[in-house]
């Protein structure tokens, strides 16, 4: 009667628990290792954890929105494979002798996806929009430095800055040019365009199923020619373990993975390695331990340097990143000219740390903890909910404990973190990261005038020479002179040690081997710089209801 079903039911339930170890491999008749020539068409499916909010990049703040928008829009310039400036909408640019005016020559024969011509009036319109005080964009400040912009003809856009501004060209690589003919009568803050954009780049928005997926198809009028892959689908899958399951079940082609998956899971599964390729690239950011420079004892340079010596960065890279990262000695991406290769990271040296601390007046008390004037050297590390930062904090805690420093860890949700602790200056030490632009300017983070609430010099760093260097760095357009400025800046920063550079982590991706055309090893610009040129051989494509 009923009990037969129940037996079956419980049997199935227990079977679940025991079969995790026994995964069936799908029979693979296809040859993933063979070489294939470039072919047109196909569909690439990737996964995102968050949903885009608004496809007008200047208004949206989140990375999901910009990731999608980057496929739809162009800027005046872009970066090429080796991180040099390359034409996008502008075919060439000329900097005046007084270094304050840039004249962009716009390519002729460019069209928007809806057939309208793309000319300098669109560029002017976009600039006016981003500098308009009513536009809710946080990124206006760079463009507001332009005191005069003009369009002498439909293929020329000219901007004049108040003073020569070295980061200028970089800022023009990240301003998506918007169509004037569609937006001139719209309220940019509330327009439906943000959900149904029209751009000029390789892809147009095909479909956006809220909360589920965003689908892009090829733009036949793309200003840079047709992309190979016809359809890009981004599935919104908030949980990374679900994403991984979808990847190995061959339901998605691409995802970001973590060091353990890269270094341990894939190497243990030949069947996965046969079908999925792993890629790593150095990102443009770093993770650091930041001291509250306004608080004792972190205002004492010896204490900061001592703590720097007491932390073993190699151990952190090995333990947290499984070796998939690099230690740093300056706030710039290794391999770029801004990175001062003469500087060496602080090596782990607990003796030197103890010497510096005793110079600063710290002696070991009877409990083995360092003490000065009756006060134990004790502080709290704050970080946000980020697995790698948490693990890093745990390792740091252990090392500091070894030399007699009592460290506790607190993990806080982001918005509370920023408002309750960072803005108010109510913290000891933080473990955080910076994600930087490709221009070396770091005025906003290190200049002494940027310490206001909500500004980014929240550690309270003040150094007159650094201030001068940062100011000069913004004005100096000559690249080799600029290099010298930022090299000196990095040198001072390393010596002052307001932060401990922990690591620059690699970005790790797992991409199904049906996707071809990916550069290996990854070039300076990263593997995604030529995603328009990737292709999927017909024979390896999934069954799809035919689209062209």
């Amino acid at each position: 009667m009923y009990y037969k079903n129940i037996n079956l039911y419980s049997f199935i339930l227990f079977l679940c628990l025991f079969s995790i170890g026994c995964s069936q491999d799908k029979p693979v008749g296809l040859n993933y290792q063979a070489h294939y020539d470039k072919e047109d068409g196909g569909r690439l499916i990737n996964a995102m954890t968050g949903e885009p909010s608004n496809l007008i990049a200047m208004i949206a703040g989140d990375s999901a929105s910009s990731a999608i928008a980057n496929n739809i829009f162009n800027s005046l310039l872009k970066y090429d494979k080796s991180l040099n400036y390359a034409p996008d909408i502008a075919e060439s640019w000329n900097i005046s002798n007084n270094q304050k005016t840039i004249t962009f020559k716009i390519r002729k024969g460019l069209y928007w996806a809806d057939g309208e011509k793309l000319t300098s009036k669109d560029v002017m319109f976009t600039w006016k929009l981003v500098t308009n005080p009513d536009t809710r964009t946080p990124y206006a400040s760079d463009y507001q430095l332009v005191k005069k912009a003009s369009t002498p003809d439909p293929y020329t856009f000219k901007v004049t800055y108040q003073e020569s501004y070295a980061p200028a060209l970089d800022t023009w690589t990240s301003l998506h040019i918007l169509p004037e003919h569609l937006l001139r009568n719209e309220d940019i803050n509330n327009t439906y365009f943000s959900r149904k954009p029209v751009g000029s780049n390789y892809y147009i928005l095909d479909n956006w199923k809220s909360g589920q997926q965003v689908s892009l198809t090829r733009n036949s009028r793309s200003i840079n020619g047709k992309a190979n892959i016809n359809n890009l689908i981004s599935r919104i899958i908030p949980d990374t373990s679900s994403q991984f399951m979808e990847l190995i079940a061959d339901n998605i082609d691409l995802m970001s993975i973590n060091p353990i998956q890269f270094k341990r899971v894939f190497p243990s599964r030949k069947d996965l390695r046969d079908k999925i390729g792993l890629y790593k690239e150095l990102g443009n950011g770093y993770t650091y331990l930041g001291f509250n420079l306004k608080k004792e004892p972190f205002n004492d340079r010896r204490v900061r340097k001592a703590l720097n010596f007491a932390i073993d960065k190699n151990e952190i890279v090995k333990g947290v990143l499984l070796g998939l990262g690099e230690p740093l000695a300056s706030p710039y991406k290794p391999g770029t000219r801004w990175n001062n290769t003469k500087l060496k990271p602080y090596q782990y040296d607990s003796n030197r740390a103890l010497n510096l601390l005793s110079e600063a007046g710290y002696k070991k008390n009877k409990d083995g903890l360092l003490e000065k004037n009756g006060k134990v050297l004790r502080f709290e590390i704050l970080t946000n909910q980020n697995k790698q930062r948490e693990m890093t904090a745990v390792i740091i805690q252990r090392r500091l404990k070894e030399i007699g420093v009592d460290v506790s860890i607190r993990v806080i949700e982001w918005a509370s973190f920023i408002n309750q602790f960072i803005k108010t200056g109510d913290f000891d030490v933080v473990v955080l990261g910076w994600s930087l632009s490709l221009d070396p300017d770091q005025f906003n983070i290190w200049h002494s005038t940027q310490q206001g609430p909500g500004q980014f010099n929240f550690l309270g760093y003040e150094n007159k020479r650094v201030d001068t260097l940062l100011e000069r760095g913004r004005l100096e357009l000559d690249v080799s002179k600029r290099e010298k400025i930022y090299h000196e800046f990095s040198d001072i920063l390393l010596d002052d040690s307001p932060i401990v550079y922990l690591y620059a982590g690699y970005g790790l991706s797992a991409i199904n081997k049906r996707v071809r055309g990916i550069n290996r090893p990854s070039p300076p610009a990263g593997i995604y710089h030529n995603s328009y040129d990737w292709f999927i051989p017909k024979i390896l494509r999934r069954n799809e209801i035919s689209d062209n």
Partner: protein, 271 residues
């Protein structure tokens, strides 16, 4: 007592809980390693002679972490339930004893707090406060007293009309005396049952919070956070999912069995 042993469910529950309690109590003595001992040479080792439950992402011994994690799970359970039962008894007694407008008022407060789905409320509050173990316990306690209140109130309402209560009132005993000596002791069944079940639920809630990153924080070990750490490699590092998952399952099962068993035994309505 004989009934207790005869009721195999309750017995099984008690056995399981005793094992867990022993594991938690004896953790400092039987744990082979310091649960926070990081060993980056031994990251993610499968169960073996040196590490009978394997190691985690920082090379820490999982078995030791599981033992100390038992302490955390039980602590969360007991304190949270202590708080919720305490509040529930107080409010339920007052509502059930005095009835009238106090009863209505308290019941309306119960309704108001019940209006916000408790997991949502826990999430919202934990997200704002630091997710420390004390905050978690307090918040779970503060969001689960409503059931006990209703139960106690219901018992009081039905006991009110009994003779021994009326006799007590006739003798002029003070309210507190009646509540503490007569009404409460006879209402213990639902309180005990719901407390035991409440511990089970608190353990599950903590593991759920850990999944969202809002549970007990690093470096403290809890079954929930061991499980969460391993969720991205459940097939590769199966030991990070299997052991804490089973531990949570068995512990919650034990408490549920004990609770239901007690309900069967203590309920005078059963033959």
């Amino acid at each position: 007592m004989k009934k207790f042993i005869g009721n195999s469910l309750a017995l099984a529950g008690l056995v399981i809980i005793t094992i867990v309690l022993l594991a938690a109590a004896l953790a400092p003595f039987i744990a082979p390693y310091d649960p926070n001992f990081i060993d980056i040479e031994s990251i993610l080792i499968a169960p073996s002679y040196n590490h009978i439950m394997g190691t985690d992402g920082l090379g820490r011994d999982v078995f030791s972490r599981m033992l100390y994690g038992a302490q955390i799970s039980l602590l969360v359970g007991f304190v949270a339930v202590g708080i919720s039962t305490g509040i529930g008894i107080i409010l339920g007694s007052i509502a059930g004893f005095y009835r009238g407008w106090i009863d209505s008022f308290i019941m309306r407060i119960v309704d108001i707090v019940l209006s916000i789905p408790s997991f949502f409320l826990i999430l919202a509050v934990i997200a704002f406060l630091t997710p420390s173990i004390w905050n978690i316990m307090i918040v779970i306690g503060l969001t689960s007293w409503m059931g006990v209140t209703r139960l106690v109130r219901a018992e009081f309402l039905s006991l009110r009309g009994r003779e021994f209560v009326m006799a007590s009132e006739a003798m002029g005993s003070s309210d507190i005396k009646i509540i503490l000596l007569h009404l409460l002791p006879n209402s213990m069944t639902p309180i005990i049952v719901s407390s035991v079940l409440g511990i089970a639920s608190a353990v599950l809630v903590e593991s759920g919070l850990s999944f969202l990153g809002l549970g007990v924080q690093a470096p403290t070990a809890s079954w929930g956070n061991i499980l969460t750490d391993g969720k991205e490699y459940i097939q590769f590092a199966w030991w990070l999912s299997l052991f804490p998952g089973l531990a949570i399952l068995l512990t919650v099962l034990g408490y549920n069995l004990l609770g239901e068993g007690l309900r069967d035994i203590l309920d005078p309505k059963n033959k």
